[in-house]
């Protein structure tokens, strides 16, 4: 009887172990199920490279190039801000900060990661957006730049904590060897620690950027949501994620617009899948 009970429990455990695979497959299948329908009316080529997104005009124009470029501009901006600051902060926490301060800083970074994106979006709206408007004398502060700055803050916790782990896992002997040869602490960090941790740091950067591409609420609240091809970072843009979030409420289930939004979801899923698999490969290389 006990054997039977344990048999059942162990099968249940195996089943739950497989649940993650099941959910990833389910997510992909359901995105495909709803999203592929849009390609009955528009070719994938026209969908991705079409220059205008007017989903409710007659006939609907469903080109997502402006949205892709919108996401790209915001992401590049956020990367420029978050990568240097994030990696520098990781080095400071891992190598320079005294033990007590280190613990406090790590808790602070964790708190930043915990702030809900809608709260960051709200704070961005009431503080950052007016600043950007006044500093650059713009008609509106709802720009790609504002989005980049807020998104940089959402990427930094990821970058800092994973890069710090990577630095921490560099063998102590590397550091000791360099110091014993007479190098200063900074030379050791710069010439030994950073190169040794490079693939982990690269993974950290990729995962941080992945988080930025997928961010929705903050971006929707502060980038202005104009589905136009952006010419500068001081213009309003609309990202892939914000388009789904803003328009799904109005799209009729089973309409062309509905399918197109799911097709955008496929694009996002594929991007995040590629980013995560590559980052995982880098992390594995680091561990070896």
């Amino acid at each position: 009887m006990r054997k039977f009970k344990e048999f059942i429990i162990e099968k249940l455990i195996l089943l739950c172990g497989l649940a993650s695979i099941l959910f990833v497959v389910l997510i992909f299948l359901f995105l495909l199920k709803e999203g592929l329908a849009v390609f009955k009316t528009i070719t994938p080529f026209k969908f991705i490279l079409g220059r205008s997104w007017y989903p409710i005009s007659e006939p609907a124009q469903l080109g997502i190039l402006p949205l892709i470029l919108g996401s790209l501009v915001v992401t590049i901006g956020a990367a420029f801000i978050s990568i240097p600051i994030g990696v520098a902060c990781a080095v400071y926490i891992a190598e320079v900060a005294p033990l007590k301060i280190k613990e406090i800083l790590k808790a602070g970074i964790e708190l930043l990661a915990a702030i809900p994106s809608v709260v960051l979006g709200f704070i961005g709206m009431v503080t950052l957006v007016p600043w950007v408007k006044n500093i650059f004398h713009l008609p509106t502060g709802l720009t790609a730049l504002s989005g980049s700055i807020i998104l940089a803050f959402m990427a930094m916790p990821t970058i800092v904590s994973i890069a710090e782990d990577a630095l921490y896992s560099v063998p102590k002997t590397y550091k000791e060897g360099s110091l014993a040869l007479g190098a200063t602490h900074w030379q050791t960090i710069y010439r030994v620690m950073l190169p040794a941790a490079s693939s982990g740091i690269l993974a950290a950067v990729m995962l941080g950027i992945g988080r930025v591409i997928g961010e929705t609420m903050a971006v929707m609240m502060i980038t202005g949501n104009a589905a136009l091809i952006p010419h500068s970072i001081l213009q309003p843009v609309r990202t892939l994620t914000a388009t789904i979030a803003a328009e799904m409420g109005e799209a009729v289930v089973g309409s062309e617009h509905f399918f197109a939004l799911f097709a955008i979801g496929i694009v996002l899923f594929v991007i995040s899948f590629a980013v995560n698999v590559t980052a995982d490969l880098f992390l594995h290389r680091q561990r070896k």
């Binding site: 809900p116 930094m156 979030a245 799904m248 995560n276």
Partner: protein, 282 residues
């Protein structure tokens, strides 16, 4: 020699500066929200329904809605996540299947939150016909926090020393008895940390509940799990972008309640982990 020392001083100064650039804004954000939100907080704000098109009254239905969603998500995700963690920590061999499960977890953690929303809409709302309901929203949030629960629980179980298991097995306990009476009790603080972090994440996310449960304006409490509900993060989004002329105090107040809820959970998790590390006997 002096030159290299000076380079080091300058370099460390810049590293410190970068750290300040992250920590100071975080502190400022939290301070601003507390300072401007605190005057709005009173019993009426917390326990009353929204009135006059959300321009007055309280946020009680949104608080209750978020609690329902979070509890629903954890009821779904904790058992599955815990068993999955047991599998990975105690049963999984180093083979292709295990590698795929780990990759799937990494991917689940990386899927954009709005894509979870789409998935919940397609599977729970449309395909399974649950409609926009607490059930659909909870299940969507549950799948979203699964990777957090699995990863932290697994780490907690793997950090239980191997000798503990050997002693139990050598006394004649079966594998499951060993897990049940030796591994799990020693891993509970870690599992608790993961669960609370998952709760915090579920409470703060907006995009996954947009199309699966969130009601724009529903000045009453949900009646069943098939009912729509208001939720704090969505309510904050609505009153800060969709409804004009909302008193700033109400916006900051709502932001403060949401932030306090999420940060409180994270703080509890940090404290549990800290205490546990201090007391650890091995």
């Amino acid at each position: 020699m002096r030159n290299t020392q000076r380079t080091q001083t300058i370099a460390f100064f810049f590293l410190f500066l970068a750290t300040l650039l992250i920590v100071v804004p975080v502190g400022l954000i939290i301070l601003i929200i507390i300072q401007k939100g605190l005057p709005a907080i009173n019993w009426q704000f917390l326990c009353d329904i929204p009135r006059q098109g959300m321009r007055a009254g309280g946020i009680f239905p949104a608080i209750v809605g978020t609690l329902y969603l979070v509890i629903g998500a954890i009821i779904f995700a904790l058992p599955i996540g815990l068993l999955a963690a047991i599998y990975l920590s105690e049963y999984a061999k180093d083979n292709l299947l295990t590698r795929m499960i780990k990759l799937a977890i990494v991917n689940l953690a990386g899927v954009p939150s709005v894509v979870y929303g789409l998935f919940g809409l397609a599977l729970f709302v449309v395909f399974l016909k649950f409609g926009a309901s607490i059930l659909s929203g909870s299940l969507t949030l549950g799948i979203m926090i699964l990777p957090i629960i699995i990863t932290t629980s697994r780490e907690a179980m793997e950090s239980v020393p191997y000798s503990f298991r050997e002693v139990s097995l050598s006394l004649g306990a079966s594998k499951w008895q060993t897990i049940r009476h030796v591994v799990l009790p020693n891993a509970i603080p870690g599992i608790l940390t993961g669960t609370i972090l998952g709760l915090g994440r579920a409470a703060g996310e907006t995009a996954p509940i947009l199309f699966t449960v969130a009601a724009f304006y529903l000045p009453r409490l949900p009646k069943s799990i098939f009912d729509q509900a208001m939720a704090l993060p969505y309510h904050l989004y609505v009153i800060s972008t969709q409804v004009p002329n909302v008193d700033e105090k109400i916006r900051y107040g709502t932001a403060l309640v949401l932030l306090a809820l999420v940060l409180f959970m994270n703080l509890v998790a940090i404290i549990i982990r800290y205490q546990f590390r201090k007391k650890k006997k091995w």
